[in-house]
Amino acid sequence: MKTAANLNFGEKAFITAIDETHPSFRRIIEIGFTPGQEIELVNKSIFNDPLAFSLRGTVIAIRKNEAESIILS
């Protein structure tokens, strides 16, 4: 299963689902990571965590374990 944490630099993909069991689930969808949206990995911090995604016209940084709950097509 491909998640946002597996994206390479500059790679784009569509979100198909968000893992509802993740403790940050609600925050993740509220900030705009919803099924059907296209995201792109634009930056990684040192140690490859957190990751920054381009989403809905802005850039959102989330931790790697949070990115793992974002399931891509």
């Binding site: 509802e20 403790p23 940050s24 689930f25 609600r26 925050r27 993740i28 969808i29 509220e30 900030i31 705009g32 919803t34 099924p35 059907g36 296209e38 634009v42 930056n43 990684k44 911090s45 040192i46 140690f47 965590d49 957190p50 920054a52 381009s54 809905r56 016209g57 802005t58 850039v59 959102i60 940084a61 989330i62 931790r63 949070e66």
Partner: protein
């Protein structure tokens, strides 16, 4: 919940996601006149104000903290959101103005949807249409109004254009007959996830209709040029300049190098810029104190006013320049959008020791003063991480330690040797940073017994588009942080300084001394010292003898260390009093250093201040929890005495232990 429309002054509340231009709008509507009000019994702050007189609207205007959703995720957010529904002081808002970034429509309309489904009376203010235009798009306010079902006004935050339209709409909405009882519905959390997804679907449909490509030929050509390189959904692409700049500023290696450089430069500039101002405060209060004792004469109340009150007010105000400069610089960095990147860069290392990228700014502020730093920890939504951040902030080397280190270093390093002094200074800072990281890690390991909180650790942060910072938005935070410092530290320092003054003044108020050949000033000085050495403070100090002896010191340092509990820098002035130093301002430190060199542990020929006891003292000041105002603020912000008491026990206990090891270790190695 039933809306109570009988509240005397109607309330208009500003709501909006972070980075949506809410603060700019608040400034435009209210001028720079505002009061910071705390939600009773909590640390949530609201800025309250009124509309500018020229707008002729008699309403309270409330600015609320930035939120992205009406469903809270942390205890603080629960309070923020509950008081949006009904504020304990101002009541229920008659009108809610929501700021929405035009280029972020699809994210920011979520809050609007939630407010509307809660039955709030809502006006949308569209901001940053210029950014959308730069991307080649335009937004139709009237279309949005029709689709979403509430009034929409466009405002240009830079020029204030559109503000008159907003005022007209606000007046219309307020005048609307509001006889029917309004019910405000709280959003039910368990249905929430599905709601959010549905809202987003509706919003995306709306966005497609209201946002259009610019038809103007010239703009269109420019937009078309961009279209060839970007995907078709151009408005969903972040600002390209920001993406380019982030390639450097968030680079795994260069990003880190620049991060260290920027924070380092910030520090240095804080110290250099603040230094002349601090000297100015110091000198003016010294001459004010002189003036007072000349005016009132050399009696107990003259002494109370000059030594007790004026000097302690000076001790409070001397840190204002540093705090103002720190928050100005932090504010500018925040406003450019860089601080969010800093938090992202440092999140991983900090999460290893149980902290969060958001702990970074509070910890940095701790190098100026722990009080505003502890207040700044409010931005950390995770309770455990917030408490842990507050816990270790006193270990950051605050500026009150500077005069102490300066004196102690001057004792071991000759004045001419600038380089060595500077080197030791940097070493102390590095030492304090490394040891506070280690201590934070240890405290995190014992989280269950020390912090006693467990919370889902999360880091979700928008990295806003870079922009040129504006003074008006920086100004507000600087003022409120400075006010917070004065309010929290002022009364504590002044009260305890007066108590300390009394302890050093009584009971021997009129000591007998030989006054032959002495000027009135000299008589006053000699009397003062005689009074101190026979005072209550000296008597109490003698009790510290058994504690001070193992670390090679005596009761005189003990008294000074107790005085340092008021504020660390008081240590120096306490030494001046105890070692009976007289002299004019210029040579005060030299005479103190001389007295320190000659001081012997009472009853022996052993020197009191040696390189090993000096290093022991430095180590003590690195770790010890000494500042009463910090204790008071930590109590207030954590909601109980537990954390501040643990800070005193753990930090001061460890400080004593470390000083013991340092002094005795050095002596075993053959140092004096």
């Amino acid at each position: 919940m039933i809306a109570n429309t009988t509240v005397s002054t109607p309330l208009v509340t500003l709501v909006g996601p972070p980075n949506s231009g809410k603060t700019t709008l608040f400034n435009l509507l209210s001028g720079k006149n505002f009061k910071t009000v705390n939600y009773p019994g909590s640390t949530i702050e609201y800025n309250s104000s009124h509309f500018l007189p020229k707008f002729d609207i008699n309403c309270n205007l409330l600015d609320s903290p930035g939120i992205i959703s009406l469903v809270p995720s942390s205890p603080d957010e629960t309070i923020t959101i509950n008081s949006l529904y009904e504020h304990p002081k101002f009541g229920i808002p008659k009108l809610v103005i929501v700021t929405v970034d035009s280029s972020q429509l699809s994210r920011h309309l979520l809050l609007v949807k939630q407010l509307l489904s809660s039955n709030f009376s809502v006006i949308i203010v569209l901001t940053m249409a210029d950014i959308l235009k730069k991307k080649g798009f335009t937004i139709s306010a009237s279309m949005l109004e029709e689709k979403i079902g509430c009034k929409v006004v466009k405002i240009d935050g830079r020029t204030g254009k559109g503000i008159e339209d907003l005022i007209t709409v606000v007046k219309q909405q307020l005048q609307k007959e509001n006889d029917e009882v309004t019910y405000l519905n709280k959003i039910v959390p368990n249905l929430h996830a599905e709601n959010v997804l549905n809202h987003f679907k509706e919003i995306e449909a709306i966005e497609n209709e209201v946002v259009n490509q610019i038809a103007d030929e010239k703009d269109l050509r420019r937009a078309n040029e961009k279209l060839t390189t970007l995907s078709q959904k151009l408005q969903s692409k972040p600002d390209s300049f920001t993406l380019k700049l982030d390639k450097i500023l968030l680079h795994p290696i260069w990003g880190l190098v620049l991060f260290l450089f920027i924070t380092g430069a910030m520090f240095t500039s804080i110290f250099w810029l603040a230094l002349p101002l601090m000297e100015l405060v110091d000198e003016s209060f010294a001459s004010l104190a002189n003036l007072a004792s000349n005016y009132f004469g050399y009696n107990w109340y003259g002494d109370l006013i000059s030594d007790g009150i004026i000097s302690s007010a000076g001790a409070v105000l001397i840190f204002v320049p540093q705090i103002v400069i720190l928050f100005l610089i932090l504010g500018f960095l925040e406003d450019t959008g860089y601080l969010a990147r800093g938090a992202m860069l440092i999140d991983k290392p900090l999460s290893k020791i149980g902290l969060n990228g958001r702990s970074f700014v509070p910890m940095l502020s701790g190098f100026a003063c722990a009080i505003p730093a502890i207040l700044a920890a409010r931005t950390i939504s995770n309770r455990k991480e917030r408490l842990l951040t507050i816990f270790i902030i006193p270990l950051m080397s605050c500026s009150a330690r500077l005069p102490v280190y300066a004196l102690l270093i001057a004792f071991i390093i000759p004045k001419e040797n600038f380089l060595m002094g500077g080197f030791i200074f940097s070493f102390i800072y590095l030492f304090s940073i490394i040891s506070s990281v280690i201590i934070a890690g240890i405290i995190n390991k014992f989280n269950k017994s020390i912090i006693r909180e467990e919370d889902n650790s999360s880091f979700i942060l928008e990295l806003p588009a870079y922009k040129i910072p504006r003074f008006s938005s920086v100004y507000r935070n600087t003022i409120s942080s400075t006010k917070a410092y004065l309010k929290e530290a002022g009364p504590v320092i002044i009260t305890f300084s007066i108590i300390l003054w009394a302890l050093t003044y009584f009971p021997n108020t009129n000591p007998q001394i030989d006054i032959t050949n002495l000027s009135p000033e000299e008589v006053h000085e000699v009397q003062k010292m005689e009074r101190v050495s026979t005072s209550y403070a000296a008597q109490i100090g003698k009790f510290t003898e058994p504690i001070m002896k193992p670390i090679g010191m005596d009761w005189r340092i003990g008294v000074s260390l107790i005085s340092a509990f008021v504020a660390r820098e008081v240590f120096v002035s306490a030494l001046v009093l105890i070692f009976k130093i007289t002299g004019d301002e210029e040579t005060l430190r030299d005479s103190l250093l001389n007295a320190m060199r000659n001081a012997e542990i009472e009853g022996t020929n052993q020197k009191l201040f040696t390189p090993s006891t000096i290093l022991g003292l430095i180590v003590f000041f690195v770790f010890a929890m000494q500042c009463l105002s910090t204790v008071a603020v930590a109590k207030k912000e954590t909601g109980s005495w537990r954390i501040p008491i643990l800070q005193i026990l753990i930090f001061s206990g460890f400080a004593y232990f470390a000083a013991f090891i340092t002094v005795n270790g050095l002596r075993l190695l053959g140092f004096a």
